[in-house]
């Protein structure tokens, strides 16, 4: 089985910290940052980047379309 690695880029300022991506991630990659963006939201970020498989679940459920997803086959 081909291994895949993924990565997500969260638009920090667009994120409202709703946390839906955190729950949607099957690999527990994402978490809400302790830091806040300029509008005061705890934005989402890759807490465990090595685990990301680029499945795009986080992007699909994101109401603010602030997640861009990349994937490579290893």
């Amino acid at each position: 089985m081909a291994k895949v690695r993924g990565a997500v880029v969260v638009d920090k300022e667009g994120c409202k910290g709703c946390g839906l991506c955190v729950v949607a991630c099957p690999q527990n990659v994402l978490a809400l940052n302790k830091d806040v963006n300029s509008r005061g939201y705890h934005y989402s970020y890759m807490a465990n980047p090595e685990e990301c498989i680029g499945c795009a679940h986080c992007g699909l459920v994101c109401p603010d379309t602030c997640i861009t997803i990349y994937r490579v086959k290893l």
């Binding site: 690695r5 993924g6 990565a7 880029v9 300022e13 667009g14 409202k16 910290g17 709703c18 946390g19 839906l20 729950v23 949607a24 509008r39 939201y41 890759m46 980047p49 680029g54 499945c55 795009a56 679940h57 992007g59 699909l60 459920v61 994101c62 109401p63 603010d64 379309t65 602030c66 997640i67 861009t68 997803i69 990349y70 994937r71 490579v72 290893l74």
Partner: protein, 257 residues
């Protein structure tokens, strides 16, 4: 492999649709509207119908949809979107017209307009966001509010004695001969988002093929109105809303023998 080696244009698998305007929406964190807007943008883009599509956004949280999706839009009075869309579609049969309505708009003040537009089989896509509450005005009871559900106008919970029953308007709509396709979807998980997108794509394709009204309810959350976190709201929706509003297809004339 370093993260920077993955984040390259050739490895891109998911990003914002180019039809989504690059602004931060007015929606509350976790609001289902954002996901449905994204799906609508993607579908219009993928079908290549931006130049033909006209959206009608009536009063409610989605009234500002015209700030978010890059197509021509008309704002409608509360409940009147199906009549406005009828006027557009009848005089412009080459256009793809859709309404994007909430439950207070569609099932309460606009009940007459939606029933008659659907009954005439107007060639429209209707996207119906059912979150059981009035979001924009601050969380009042909607016709689809569940029995027992607390809202700002049912502080002790909705009672049948005072307010009657939740209105299953999608079931009513599905009965109408003018309606070609009627389905109930949700957008709380990746899998349901994919299914909902397929339904919305099918609805737009039906209108392109002039098959009559295609009606897509999206059972949704309003975590602000429900006084929950977005994650709690999704769980509450699955547990409570889905029993009253069962998910899945109610009608598809394409599948008739």
């Amino acid at each position: 492999m370093e993260i920077q080696d993955i984040i390259k244009p050739e490895n891109l698998v998911y990003s914002k649709s180019k039809l989504q305007v690059d602004v931060i929406s007015h929606y509350c964190p976790g609001c289902s509207h954002g996901v449905v807007h994204k799906i609508v943008s993607e579908v219009i883009d993928e079908l290549g119908i931006q130049e033909k599509t006209i959206g009608v956004s009536p009063v409610g949280c989605a009234v500002f949809a015209y700030n978010l999706i890059d197509i021509d839009w008309q704002e409608a009075a509360h409940g009147r979107a199906p009549a406005v869309a009828t006027g557009i579609a009848r005089t412009n049969p080459d256009k793809i017209v859709f309404t994007y309505q909430g439950d207070g708009d569609l099932a309460s003040i606009g009940a007459a307009e939606i029933l008659h537009a659907c009954n005439r089989g107007e060639n429209l896509v209707v996207i119906f966001i059912n979150n059981g509450i009035y979001g924009m005005t601050g969380g009042q009871m909607a016709p689809t509010t569940l029995v027992g559900q607390v809202t700002s106008t049912t502080p002790m919970g909705r009672t049948v004695e005072l307010n009657g029953y939740p209105l299953k308007i999608t079931e009513l709509i599905a009965q109408l001969p003018g309606v070609h396709y009627c389905t109930r979807q949700s957008v709380h998980t990746a899998a349901t988002v994919r299914r909902c997108k397929n339904a919305i794509r099918k609805a737009f394709q039906n209108v392109m093929d002039k098959k009559g009204t295609s009606f897509v309810e999206v059972t949704s959350t309003c975590n602000s109105g429900w006084k929950m976190t977005p994650v709690q709201a999704n769980d509450w929706m699955v547990e409570h809303m889905f029993t009253e509003y069962p998910q899945g297809e109610l009608k598809d004339n394409d599948k008739k023998g």
